[in-house]
């Protein structure tokens, strides 16, 4: 054979770099986005003159997607257009109605696409901050990571600050309506009502109440939901709960559940859960409560998912989590027994059925329901004769 030592991969470099991997991931994300979300965005773009700003998120591999792939500098220089022109109001860019889209780049590789009938005015650019104003129309940005530099886009009453995200901003100058929709990552939005941190799937419209038909939040996939409360936002707007509302999600995303729970406390966790109709947010709330050491509150959020949205694809998993919580943390084996059976009935993925059945045996045994424990154990042995929990199941089902 060859004289080379094996495995040969140790002699070879990786042919595909981080920038390409990030670009692939973005394509995967776009294709994974639910069709309903794409449909919800289209009416918004049609109904209002759209300002679309897509900011380079914190990609999985830490690179941005802009052509210039230089790593972030710890002390960034002031940005300018890639042709050397300074970012000042004198260097405003406009595309007349009917004109072709223009694609430009900033000096750090940030990419700007300006649609027909749009005008973008750079307000200022210093090493510390970049501010641009979209007077009207549609602009799409892919913003390179800014490091310590603040990157803001103004659209009427909205000021959108890049935190590390991809989002869309629309502005209808005539109707004085602006809207921000976050595709992924986080963005901080300042409005006359206050400040909010929006996460993936969130949207905010200003003013919140308009005569235009609100864009309904995208429903979860495969869901039969009760009628959604009318919403001009896909997630609770900052005016709803005060300044801390969006911040809890940011804290949760950082794994700081105690802080996230504390931030929710201004309105009361139970009230937040009661008013929430987004399954994603309810599951996040459950994680926050569990992580902060409040299992009863977590059970509240999970219970809401299971009861109100039984046809959501995540409902079986929420039921399993709830059943475990009731059994382990709340000392409610009878309730857990019912919940775990429900989780199995709702249709858990195959990978989780063994766990759920084993837990059902345990819950039944602890609830003193020997008949159910033996029946569930029998079912377990039939389906998972050599299962991981066989010994435990045999023990639990022996009874007193």
């Amino acid at each position: 054979m060859s004289k080379l030592r094996e495995p040969l991969r140790e002699l070879l470099r990786d042919p595909i770099g981080d920038a390409q991997l990030d670009a692939i991931w973005r394509r995967v994300e776009v294709k994974r986005r639910p069709r309903t979300l794409r449909r919800a965005l289209v009416p918004a773009l049609v109904a209002v003159a759209a300002v679309m700003i897509v900011v380079g998120e914190r990609w999985p591999f830490g690179q941005h997607a802009a052509p210039a792939t230089a790593p972030m500098a710890s002390a960034p220089a002031a940005l300018h257009w890639s042709n050397g022109d300074a970012l000042t109001p004198a260097a405003a860019i406009e595309v007349v109605p009917g004109g072709a889209k223009r694609v430009l780049a900033l000096s750090d590789g940030t990419r700007v696409e300006l649609a027909s009938g749009s005008r973008l005015v750079p307000s200022s650019s210093t090493p510390e901050a970049v501010e641009l104003a979209l007077e009207h129309g549609e602009a799409r940005f892919e913003v390179a990571p800014q490091g310590t530099r603040r990157f803001e886009v103004h659209a009427g009453a909205l000021r959108v600050r890049v935190v590390g995200t991809a989002f869309t901003v629309t502005r209808d100058r005539d109707a004085d309506v602006a809207r921000v929709t976050v595709e992924h990552g986080r963005v901080r939005v300042f409005s006359p009502a206050g400040e909010a941190l929006l996460g993936a799937g969130d949207a905010l419209r200003w003013p919140a109440e308009t005569t235009a038909a609100p864009v309904a939040p995208p429903p979860p996939v495969n869901v039969q939901q009760p009628q959604q409360r009318p919403a001009s936002v896909a997630a609770p707007a900052p005016a709803k709960t005060g300044d801390d509302f969006g911040a809890w999600r940011a804290a949760a995303a950082d794994g700081d559940y105690r802080r996230a729970y504390a931030l929710l406390g201004t309105r009361g966790y139970a009230l937040v859960v009661r008013d929430e109709s987004n399954v994603d947010v309810l599951l996040e709330l459950a994680d926050v409560a569990r992580g902060a050491g409040h299992p009863r509150d977590a059970a509240l959020a999970l219970g809401r998912v299971v009861q109100r949205y039984p046809h959501d694809a995540r409902s079986p998993l929420a039921a399993l989590t709830l059943g475990r919580l009731q059994l382990d943390a709340l000392g409610q084996p009878s309730t857990a027994e019912r919940t775990l059976r429900r989780a199995l009935d709702l249709g858990l993925p195959a990978a989780l059925q063994e766990d759920a059945l084993a837990r059902l045996v345990q819950a039944s045994a602890q609830a003193g329901d020997s008949a159910q424990a033996r029946s569930a154990a029998e079912e377990y042995r039939k389906r998972f004769a050599n299962g991981r929990y066989r010994a435990n199941v045999d023990q639990w089902s022996k009874g007193p």
Binding site: R32, L283, R314
Partner: protein, 215 residues
Amino acid sequence: MALRDKRMSPSSIAIEFEHAPGSIAGDSPAPARERTDAELVYAVIAGVRRAEAELYKRHARTIAAVAARLLGRSADAEDVVQDTFLTAFERIRQLRDPQLFRPWLVRITVRHVHRRFRRRRLLRALGLDRGEDDAALSRLALSPFDTETRAELGKLDAALASLSSQQRVAFMLRHVEGYELTEVASACGASLATVKRWLSRADEVVRAHTQEDAS
């Protein structure tokens, strides 16, 4: 017996029984740690999009390298990486054992690689194959100035070009990627006997090419 719930976030679940006397552990916040593939798979099933990104981040580089070396073309490999992860996330509920996510992912990759090979054969037959083999082994040498290594890799490239796609994939998984025979069989979706047959044939061809020049 004690039940320990492996604390994960968000909304993901794993349960293990531990043979320890005494208490049943309840849910308690655990210090941050890297989640296992199985935990991430459960999270994806639960609809947590972040978990998809984590799985991608963890495995994409390896999948991309394997795909590129198998195909010899980085552009084709990028498409295969995209298709692999799309397929994986769409079918993740079919994964019987989430702990085996990586080998399952490699199997998906190999299937997509074979699709690419079929497409390439068709284009070649029509005289339309204009792709550049920018990821051929000889072009990926870590040390471009090691002429002997590059020469050997070049001979290997020539030998591999004359193999069937199945033989090529089996050979490369075994000798380039360093997979065990059972891993090659799993990745190829074939029996051990079939894989051995492919490898035997591939080894003959490679030997012939490398010794031919030596003689």
